[in-house]
Protein backbone atom coordinates (compact mmCIF):
# COMPACT_ATOMS: atom_id res chain seq x y z
CA UNK A 1 0.00 0.00 0.00
CA UNK A 2 2.96 2.29 0.52
CA UNK A 3 3.93 1.44 -3.03
CA UNK A 4 0.53 2.63 -4.20
CA UNK A 5 0.72 5.86 -2.23
CA UNK A 6 4.19 6.59 -3.64
CA UNK A 7 2.67 6.27 -7.11
CA UNK A 8 -0.68 7.88 -6.40
CA UNK A 9 -0.16 10.60 -9.02
CA UNK A 10 0.23 7.95 -11.71
CA UNK A 11 -2.97 6.24 -10.63
CA UNK A 12 -4.77 9.59 -10.64
CA UNK A 13 -3.44 10.33 -14.13
CA UNK A 14 -4.68 6.93 -15.31
CA UNK A 15 -8.07 7.70 -13.70
CA UNK A 16 -7.81 4.56 -11.61
CA UNK A 17 -8.79 4.71 -7.94
CA UNK A 18 -6.94 2.35 -5.60
CA UNK A 19 -9.23 0.93 -2.89
CA UNK A 20 -7.78 -1.05 0.02
CA UNK A 21 -9.91 -3.52 1.99
CA UNK A 22 -9.26 -5.48 5.17
CA UNK A 23 -11.14 -6.70 8.24
CA UNK A 24 -9.77 -3.79 10.29
CA UNK A 25 -12.17 -1.33 11.90
CA UNK A 26 -12.61 2.18 10.55
CA UNK A 27 -10.69 3.44 13.61
CA UNK A 28 -7.64 1.29 12.86
CA UNK A 29 -7.86 2.33 9.21
CA UNK A 30 -8.02 5.99 10.17
CA UNK A 31 -4.84 5.62 12.25
CA UNK A 32 -3.16 3.75 9.41
CA UNK A 33 -4.14 6.39 6.86
CA UNK A 34 -2.88 9.18 9.10
CA UNK A 35 0.37 7.46 9.99
CA UNK A 36 1.31 6.75 6.39
CA UNK A 37 -0.53 9.57 4.67
CA UNK A 38 -2.74 7.32 2.56
CA UNK A 39 -5.05 9.43 0.43
CA UNK A 40 -6.99 6.63 -1.30
CA UNK A 41 -10.04 4.91 0.27
CA UNK A 42 -9.33 2.28 2.91
CA UNK A 43 -12.46 0.27 3.56
CA UNK A 44 -13.42 -1.74 6.58
CA UNK A 45 -14.87 -5.22 6.06
CA UNK A 46 -15.12 -6.74 9.57
CA UNK A 47 -17.90 -9.14 8.55
CA UNK A 48 -15.95 -10.45 5.54
CA UNK A 49 -18.71 -9.37 3.10
CA UNK A 50 -16.57 -8.27 0.17
CA UNK A 51 -13.69 -10.55 1.17
CA UNK A 52 -16.03 -13.56 0.92
CA UNK A 53 -17.45 -12.44 -2.45
CA UNK A 54 -13.92 -12.48 -3.83
CA UNK A 55 -13.20 -15.84 -2.16
CA UNK A 56 -10.26 -14.40 -0.21
CA UNK A 57 -11.25 -15.45 3.30
CA UNK A 58 -8.29 -16.85 5.20
CA UNK A 59 -10.07 -18.72 7.99
CA UNK A 60 -8.47 -18.57 11.44
CA UNK A 61 -5.40 -16.94 9.93
CA UNK A 62 -4.26 -15.14 13.05
CA UNK A 63 -5.63 -17.42 15.72
CA UNK A 64 -8.77 -19.48 16.11
CA UNK A 65 -11.78 -17.36 15.38
CA UNK A 66 -9.96 -14.52 13.63
CA UNK A 67 -10.28 -14.70 9.88
CA UNK A 68 -8.70 -12.13 7.58
CA UNK A 69 -8.33 -11.47 3.87
CA UNK A 70 -5.51 -13.26 2.11
CA UNK A 71 -3.63 -10.70 -0.04
CA UNK A 72 -5.18 -10.18 -3.46
CA UNK A 73 -5.11 -7.41 -6.06
CA UNK A 74 -7.70 -6.85 -8.79
CA UNK A 75 -7.69 -4.25 -11.54
CA UNK A 76 -11.29 -3.61 -12.60
CA UNK A 77 -12.39 -1.55 -15.61
CA UNK A 78 -15.35 0.85 -15.74
CA UNK A 79 -17.71 -1.92 -16.89
CA UNK A 80 -16.92 -3.82 -13.68
CA UNK A 81 -14.84 -6.46 -15.45
CA UNK A 82 -11.61 -7.83 -13.99
CA UNK A 83 -8.69 -6.91 -16.28
CA UNK A 84 -5.79 -8.17 -14.17
CA UNK A 85 -5.36 -9.90 -10.85
CA UNK A 86 -2.60 -11.04 -8.56
CA UNK A 87 -3.13 -13.68 -5.89
CA UNK A 88 0.29 -13.93 -4.31
CA UNK A 89 1.36 -17.35 -3.10
CA UNK A 90 3.43 -15.85 -0.31
CA UNK A 91 2.12 -12.93 1.71
CA UNK A 92 5.61 -11.50 2.03
CA UNK A 93 5.55 -10.87 -1.72
CA UNK A 94 3.29 -8.45 -3.58
CA UNK A 95 2.86 -7.13 -7.09
CA UNK A 96 5.23 -4.44 -8.33
CA UNK A 97 3.39 -1.07 -8.44
CA UNK A 98 5.09 -0.21 -11.75
CA UNK A 99 3.56 -3.30 -13.39
CA UNK A 100 0.13 -2.48 -12.00
CA UNK A 101 0.35 1.09 -13.29
CA UNK A 102 1.18 -0.17 -16.78
CA UNK A 103 -1.98 -2.28 -16.68
CA UNK A 104 -3.97 0.64 -15.23
CA UNK A 105 -2.86 2.96 -18.05
CA UNK A 106 -4.12 0.45 -20.62
CA UNK A 107 -7.70 0.71 -19.34
CA UNK A 108 -10.10 2.48 -21.68
Amino acid sequence: MRGIQQNIDKFTAAEVTPIAISVDSTEINRDLAQRYGFTFPILSDPNLEAIRKYDLVHENAVEDGISVARPGEFLIDSTGTVRWLNLTENYWLRANPADVIEKAKALK
Binding site: I21, S22, L43, H58, R70, G72, L75, R83, W92, P97
Partner: protein, 144 residues
Protein backbone atom coordinates in the same frame (compact mmCIF):
# COMPACT_ATOMS: atom_id res chain seq x y z
CA UNK B 1 49.14 -16.97 17.47
CA UNK B 2 47.80 -16.07 20.87
CA UNK B 3 44.29 -17.30 21.36
CA UNK B 4 42.80 -15.62 24.34
CA UNK B 5 40.66 -12.58 24.77
CA UNK B 6 37.17 -11.81 23.62
CA UNK B 7 35.78 -14.12 20.94
CA UNK B 8 34.12 -11.32 18.97
CA UNK B 9 33.57 -13.46 15.89
CA UNK B 10 31.08 -15.72 17.62
CA UNK B 11 29.19 -12.79 19.15
CA UNK B 12 29.12 -10.92 15.85
CA UNK B 13 27.89 -14.04 14.10
CA UNK B 14 25.07 -14.38 16.60
CA UNK B 15 24.08 -10.70 16.41
CA UNK B 16 24.16 -10.84 12.61
CA UNK B 17 21.76 -13.78 12.74
CA UNK B 18 19.34 -11.77 14.87
CA UNK B 19 19.68 -8.82 12.52
CA UNK B 20 19.10 -11.02 9.48
CA UNK B 21 15.95 -12.36 11.13
CA UNK B 22 14.63 -8.88 11.87
CA UNK B 23 15.59 -7.46 8.48
CA UNK B 24 12.69 -8.80 6.43
CA UNK B 25 9.89 -7.51 8.67
CA UNK B 26 11.79 -4.21 8.88
CA UNK B 27 12.03 -3.95 5.12
CA UNK B 28 8.48 -5.26 4.78
CA UNK B 29 7.00 -2.58 7.01
CA UNK B 30 9.02 0.32 5.59
CA UNK B 31 9.04 -0.18 1.85
CA UNK B 32 6.88 -1.76 -0.77
CA UNK B 33 7.46 -5.45 -1.00
CA UNK B 34 7.56 -6.04 -4.72
CA UNK B 35 11.16 -7.23 -4.50
CA UNK B 36 11.92 -10.55 -2.88
CA UNK B 37 13.93 -9.31 0.10
CA UNK B 38 14.00 -12.77 1.65
CA UNK B 39 17.21 -13.57 -0.23
CA UNK B 40 18.87 -10.50 1.24
CA UNK B 41 18.22 -11.99 4.67
CA UNK B 42 19.47 -15.39 3.56
CA UNK B 43 22.68 -13.63 2.45
CA UNK B 44 23.01 -11.98 5.85
CA UNK B 45 22.58 -15.38 7.49
CA UNK B 46 25.35 -16.63 5.23
CA UNK B 47 27.71 -13.91 6.45
CA UNK B 48 26.69 -14.68 10.02
CA UNK B 49 27.51 -18.35 9.43
CA UNK B 50 31.05 -17.44 8.31
CA UNK B 51 31.68 -15.54 11.54
CA UNK B 52 30.17 -18.36 13.58
CA UNK B 53 32.45 -20.92 11.96
CA UNK B 54 35.52 -18.73 12.55
CA UNK B 55 34.38 -18.11 16.13
CA UNK B 56 33.75 -21.80 16.76
CA UNK B 57 37.19 -22.77 15.47
CA UNK B 58 38.69 -20.14 17.74
CA UNK B 59 36.67 -21.31 20.76
CA UNK B 60 37.65 -24.93 20.27
CA UNK B 61 41.31 -24.22 19.51
CA UNK B 62 43.98 -25.13 22.04
CA UNK B 63 44.28 -22.81 25.02
CA UNK B 64 40.60 -21.83 25.34
CA UNK B 65 38.64 -22.52 28.50
CA UNK B 66 35.52 -24.57 28.90
CA UNK B 67 33.27 -21.52 29.26
CA UNK B 68 34.47 -20.20 25.92
CA UNK B 69 33.58 -23.50 24.25
CA UNK B 70 30.16 -23.71 25.89
CA UNK B 71 29.29 -20.09 25.07
CA UNK B 72 30.35 -20.54 21.47
CA UNK B 73 28.32 -23.73 21.14
CA UNK B 74 25.21 -22.14 22.64
CA UNK B 75 25.41 -19.01 20.47
CA UNK B 76 25.89 -21.14 17.38
CA UNK B 77 22.91 -23.32 18.25
CA UNK B 78 20.76 -20.26 18.92
CA UNK B 79 21.80 -18.76 15.59
CA UNK B 80 20.86 -22.00 13.89
CA UNK B 81 17.47 -21.93 15.59
CA UNK B 82 16.90 -18.34 14.49
CA UNK B 83 17.77 -19.31 10.91
CA UNK B 84 15.41 -22.27 11.10
CA UNK B 85 12.60 -20.06 12.35
CA UNK B 86 13.29 -17.56 9.58
CA UNK B 87 13.12 -20.24 6.88
CA UNK B 88 9.90 -21.56 8.40
CA UNK B 89 8.25 -18.12 8.51
CA UNK B 90 9.51 -16.74 5.21
CA UNK B 91 9.26 -19.81 3.01
CA UNK B 92 6.59 -22.01 4.60
CA UNK B 93 4.18 -20.31 6.95
CA UNK B 94 3.74 -17.28 4.68
CA UNK B 95 2.58 -19.59 1.87
CA UNK B 96 -0.24 -21.12 3.89
CA UNK B 97 -2.89 -19.18 2.04
CA UNK B 98 -6.28 -20.32 0.75
CA UNK B 99 -6.32 -21.20 -2.96
CA UNK B 100 -9.13 -18.70 -3.66
CA UNK B 101 -10.30 -20.61 -6.73
CA UNK B 102 -13.61 -18.76 -6.51
CA UNK B 103 -12.00 -15.35 -6.99
CA UNK B 104 -13.21 -13.49 -10.10
CA UNK B 105 -10.83 -14.15 -13.02
CA UNK B 106 -9.77 -11.89 -15.90
CA UNK B 107 -12.80 -11.19 -18.08
CA UNK B 108 -15.27 -11.96 -15.29
CA UNK B 109 -17.46 -9.47 -13.46
CA UNK B 110 -16.08 -8.16 -10.17
CA UNK B 111 -18.71 -8.54 -7.41
CA UNK B 112 -20.05 -5.22 -6.18
CA UNK B 113 -19.87 -4.26 -2.50
CA UNK B 114 -20.47 -1.30 -0.21
CA UNK B 115 -18.21 -0.73 2.81
CA UNK B 116 -17.30 2.09 5.20
CA UNK B 117 -14.20 4.20 4.62
CA UNK B 118 -12.09 5.80 7.38
CA UNK B 119 -14.67 8.53 7.99
CA UNK B 120 -17.53 6.02 8.12
CA UNK B 121 -18.81 7.03 4.70
CA UNK B 122 -20.22 4.16 2.60
CA UNK B 123 -18.19 3.53 -0.55
CA UNK B 124 -19.39 1.16 -3.25
CA UNK B 125 -17.38 -0.34 -6.08
CA UNK B 126 -20.04 0.38 -8.73
CA UNK B 127 -20.33 4.03 -7.74
CA UNK B 128 -16.55 4.55 -7.76
CA UNK B 129 -16.34 2.88 -11.17
CA UNK B 130 -19.02 5.16 -12.58
CA UNK B 131 -16.66 8.13 -12.13
CA UNK B 132 -13.36 6.50 -13.13
CA UNK B 133 -11.73 4.39 -15.80
CA UNK B 134 -11.02 1.75 -13.26
CA UNK B 135 -10.37 0.64 -9.70
CA UNK B 136 -7.42 -1.22 -8.22
CA UNK B 137 -8.78 -3.35 -5.39
CA UNK B 138 -6.17 -4.27 -2.82
CA UNK B 139 -7.18 -6.83 -0.22
CA UNK B 140 -4.71 -7.06 2.66
CA UNK B 141 -4.42 -8.94 5.93
CA UNK B 142 -4.78 -5.92 8.17
CA UNK B 143 -3.44 -5.06 11.57
CA UNK B 144 -6.37 -6.06 13.83
Amino acid sequence: MKNNGFNWQIVLGFLLSLFAFASVPMVFSQWSVSTDYRWLSVGLFGIAAIFLVVGLRRAFAAGRGKISKITAAILTLLSGAVFGLFVFLAFFMSTWLPKSTGAPQVGQKAPDFTLADTSGKQVSLSETLSKQKGVLLVFYRGYW
